[in-house]
């Protein structure tokens, strides 16, 4: 078993803002519901850490529900889109209350909002704002935000009212923030936002102030992350061009939020949205520009947009392939050390290579440019880097990309065969976790065979096959034959067939036997899958039949 070190790792550096309430919680006192304006103590650092620690404990121990929340493609907004907003902090409510007390408070606050919306006069604005802030704090600072309670209490229509045109900026911001976190909840809660959607989309417009537009984009990103139905509604309401325009922005934070929201919006499964996005004026340019210059965080979100474009839309793929984007992707893949960025970049390249030979050629050509040719700058070098990394996802998807490259022409196969990737692949075949080994098997097998038109048996590239076998790939394939995974077992059997048919002088069966291949194949006699049973039986009958044993010279 792999040893795991208990090294603490901060998932993402956040602007941790502690409040007195957090500090009080640390000291064990509970602060209940009024609104005193308390001064901030300089306990900031440690209190913040304690709160984070409590959140962590909750996140991991609270169970399935919490896990699902973390794994959703939604993002809870805890710190807002505006930087260093000191006055938000003094809004003043409890933050580590839980359960009934928190619910009670939420209900109370919603009630207050309702009343605040009815009053007229000078004071009305201030009051509304105060209550909104309280509500927003409840929904953003609590360990488990009381979203369900708030929705049940009827908060959404109230927030919609707060979003009306002409409202002061701060009000819009707070309302949008509340809606963002409600949309980060479960399906029912997100769907409750339906009446708010047109307004949120409207506030994405270029007349809105940047923070407001960004906060609305965030809310919409959460809504889009919920499901196809909501995505379709948002697209119908014109969210796509609005978000695309925001992605063009020079404001890094806004572009990043917009890109993330777009990735949730176009993810399909219907390719329509992806196809529409690429048609929008300036979208492709923005993508290219950000991939070239942006920092890791922005580039990551844009890369995810590219992932969905390349996976879903053929027209997008052709446009992207004919642009500079491929070069930029390869460059990022080769140069970056940031896992967050590498995953979508690698996957985009993978999606491209999986299309067809022509596109794969373009991808391989990238890097062989006019400047100094550094082997590690091109895609093969980058893939080798991924194969050597510690990260399981990178290894698996890099092997997948290589298997698709190896599905190409003889030249492609030779490229892989003579590269540094090959020894790595062989090593991974024996040592890596199962899902990686399966991809590696595809890659190695594809390197040894050329698909032929018209004849039954594919043509073996004997040099490659013999070399791989000599370098010890057989045990790995036989191990796949033993696995309970049908696809892997089939792959293993197919490779064994090639080895036993292809190796000259009957070496194949002998080697297979030596590695206990017969035993592995005979496991299938009681296997429930008929195809595999007959495949295995055929091989055993053909190569280890009647006259076997007598010819055995070893």
């Amino acid at each position: 078993m792999v040893q795991r070190s208990c090294r603490r790792k901060r998932v993402r550096v956040q602007r941790q803002r502690a409040t007195l309430q957090q500090g009080m919680a640390h000291l064990g006192t509970k602060v209940v519901g009024e609104s005193p304006s308390l001064k901030r103590e300089p306990l900031k650092f440690s209190a913040g850490k304690v709160a984070a620690q409590r959140r962590r404990q909750h996140a991991v121990t609270i169970g399935k529900e919490r896990r699902e929340a973390i794994l959703r493609t939604k993002r809870l907004c805890r710190d807002g889109v505006v930087g260093d907003n000191e006055d938000q902090v003094d809004a003043g409510m409890i933050l580590d209350e839980e359960g009934a007390a928190l619910d009670a408070q939420t209900n109370e606050t919603v009630g207050e909002l309702k009343s605040a919306l009815r009053i007229q006069g000078k004071d009305a604005l201030r009051k509304k704002l105060e209550v909104l802030r309280t509500l927003r704090c409840l929904l953003s600072k609590s360990t488990v935000p009381p979203v369900e309670t708030a929705v049940q209490a009827g908060v959404v229509p109230l927030l919609v009212e707060c979003l009306s045109f002409g409202s002061p900026d701060e009000q819009l911001l707070e309302a949008a923030w509340c809606l963002t976190n409600i949309a980060a909840g479960e399906a029912e809660q997100t769907k409750a936002l339906l009446p708010a959607l047109p307004l949120l989309v409207a506030h994405l417009g270029d007349r809105s102030s940047v923070p407001i537009a960004e906060q609305c984009a965030w809310a919409l990103g959460n809504v889009a992350g919920e499901g196809e139905e909501l995505r379709n509604i948002l697209i119908a309401q014109g969210a796509l061009p609005a978000l695309a325009r925001m992605m063009l922005s020079d404001n890094g934070s806004m572009a990043r939020t917009a890109a993330w929201a777009l990735s949730n919006l176009i993810k399909g499964p219907h390719p329509w949205a992806a196809t529409e996005l690429i048609k929008i004026n300036g979208a492709l340019d923005a993508i290219i520009r950000h991939m070239k210059k942006a920092d890791d965080e922005l580039a990551t979100e844009v890369a995810w947009v590219v992932v969905y474009l390349t996976a879903l839309s053929n027209s997008a793929t052709s446009l992207l392939v004919n642009s500079d984007l491929v070069q930029l992707l390869v460059g990022r893949l080769a140069a970056s050390e940031c896992l967050q960025l590498l995953i979508p970049v690698l996957r985009s390249i993978g999606n491209l290579v999986a299309c067809d030979s022509h596109v794969a050629d373009e991808v391989l050509a990238a890097g062989y440019g006019t400047t100094v040719l550094n082997a590690s700058d091109n895609v093969m070098g980058a893939l080798v880097k991924c194969l050597s990394s510690d990260h399981r996802v990178l290894k698996k998807e890099a092997a997948w990309v290589l298997s698709n490259i190896a599905a190409g022409s003889l030249a492609h196969k030779q490229l892989i065969y003579f590269s540094d990737a090959l020894p790595l692949l062989l090593h991974l075949l024996s040592t890596a976790p199962f899902d990686i080994r399966k991809e590696v098997a595809y890659a190695l097998g594809n390197v040894c065979v050329v698909q032929s038109e018209g004849s039954h048996q594919p043509n073996l590239i004997l040099d490659h096959l013999v070399s791989l076998v000599d370098r010890g790939c057989l045990p790995g394939f036989i191990s796949l034959v033993r696995s309970p995974d049908l696809e892997a077992a089939r792959l293993g059997l197919q490779f064994l067939e090639m080895v036993m048919r292809g190796l000259p002088n009957g070496r194949g069966p002998k080697l297979v036997e030596r590695e206990d291949g017969i035993d592995a194949m005979e496991r299938f006699q009681f296997h429930e899958n008929e195809h595999l049973r007959s495949m295995a039986n055929e091989l055993v009958d053909k190569y280890f039949g009647e006259d076997h044993g007598h010819l055995d010279e070893d």
């Binding site: 603490r8 790792k9 998932v11 993402r12 956040q14 984070a52 620690q53 962590r56 996140a59 991991v60 896990r67 973390i70 794994l71 493609t73 993002r75 805890r78 993810k267 499964p269 990551t300 992932v307 879903l312 967050q340 979508p344 996957r347 999986a354 067809d356 998807e397 997948w400 599905a407 040592t431 199962f434 899902d435 097998g445 594809n446 065979v449 698909q451 032929s452 038109e453 048996q457 594919p458 191990s479 309970p484 049908l486 089939r490 067939e497 090639m498 030596r514 017969i518 005979e522 006699q525 009681f526 429930e528 195809h531 495949m535 039986n537 055929e538 039949g545 076997h548 044993g549 055995d552």
Partner: protein
């Protein structure tokens, strides 16, 4: 039959089986594999994305992250044991290997065939290596048990049992319980070494861990064989080996007769002995 690559380009590799039409063996097919963005193939990458990006600053330790990503995997990655009739659900590959080795690798010490349950192994041993079984069959007893546990049916011949399996239990017609097995020279040598050590009906094969080195594996195997040898009850072992000798010895005459009629009874006696005996009888008669 022409292999169409284009058809399968958008599919996931599971469609390769279709090309079997007309081919005896579904050869390795070189295809590009493209996956939809929500395909399970991408799940681990998607999970990684969410873990890395959550705005909640969870100070996750590596263990917790590992646990989280495994949690989501485990929910749709359950492994089902593929041995017919087993249906066990395992959580991981290691789990599966353990399960397989403890439940499905009963092997016959006489011919090295492996069976998924000890019941099937016992049936095999009776049918293939037991002369008493054959004797009873010859006398018309219904000795051939149905292979499906709980059925209880017994038939008088291998063929009729096969027919029963096909008719009553939907076995494929091509299924052969007593399949011809041709062990390699190495296996035959190993088998002889085993019977010398006195291993009885069941021997457990060594654990095959992908990550263990070959040497370790072989040592393990020898160790297990030795342990089994020591566990065996001496008398049972003797009995079994004697019975085996009885059934397989070449010198057993097919007809045994007692009394002075020497012609038929001595059918298998070697010629030189035969001559001597004749002489004795002649001399006896004379005397």
């Amino acid at each position: 039959m022409e292999v169409k690559v284009e058809e399968r380009e958008s599919g996931i590799s599971g469609t390769v089986e279709e090309e079997k039409e007309g081919l005896d063996f579904p050869y390795w097919s070189v295809i590009r594999r493209k996956y939809d963005p929500d395909a399970p193939f991408f799940a681990s990458g998607n999970i990684e994305r969410e873990l890395l990006s959550k705005q909640v600053a969870l100070d996750l330790t590596q263990d917790e992250e590992y646990e989280l990503s495994n949690m989501a995997d485990a929910e749709h990655g359950k492994i089902c044991c593929p041995i017919a009739g087993c249906g066990a659900q395992l959580i991981s590959l290691e789990d599966f290997e353990d399960h397989y080795l403890s439940r499905h690798s009963a092997s016959c010490s006489v011919c090295s065939r492996v069976y998924p349950t000890s019941r099937l192994l016992n049936i095999h041993i009776s049918e293939a290596h037991d002369s008493f079984f054959q004797a009873k069959v010859a006398r018309g007893y219904a000795m051939y048990e149905c292979l499906v546990e709980g059925c209880g049916a017994k038939m008088t011949s291998y063929k009729s049992r096969h027919q029963h399996l096909v008719d009553k239990h939907k076995f494929p017609d091509s299924f052969e319980f007593l399949k011809k097995h041709h062990p390699s020279k190495r296996q035959r040598q190993r088998r002889q070494a085993c019977s010398k050590k006195g291993a009885v009906d069941q021997k457990m094969r060594g654990v095959r861990e992908e990550h263990q080195k070959r040497e370790e594996r072989e040592d393990d195997q020898k160790g297990i064989e030795e342990r089994k040898g020591m566990d065996v009850d001496g008398t049972i072992e003797d009995l079994v080996s004697k019975v085996s000798k009885l059934s397989t010895a070449d010198s057993t005459p097919s007809v045994v007769s007692f009394g002075r009629r020497h012609t038929r009874g001595l059918a298998f006696v070697p010629r030189n002995l035969q001559r001597e005996k004749k002489q004795d009888l002649l001399t006896n008669k004379k005397g």
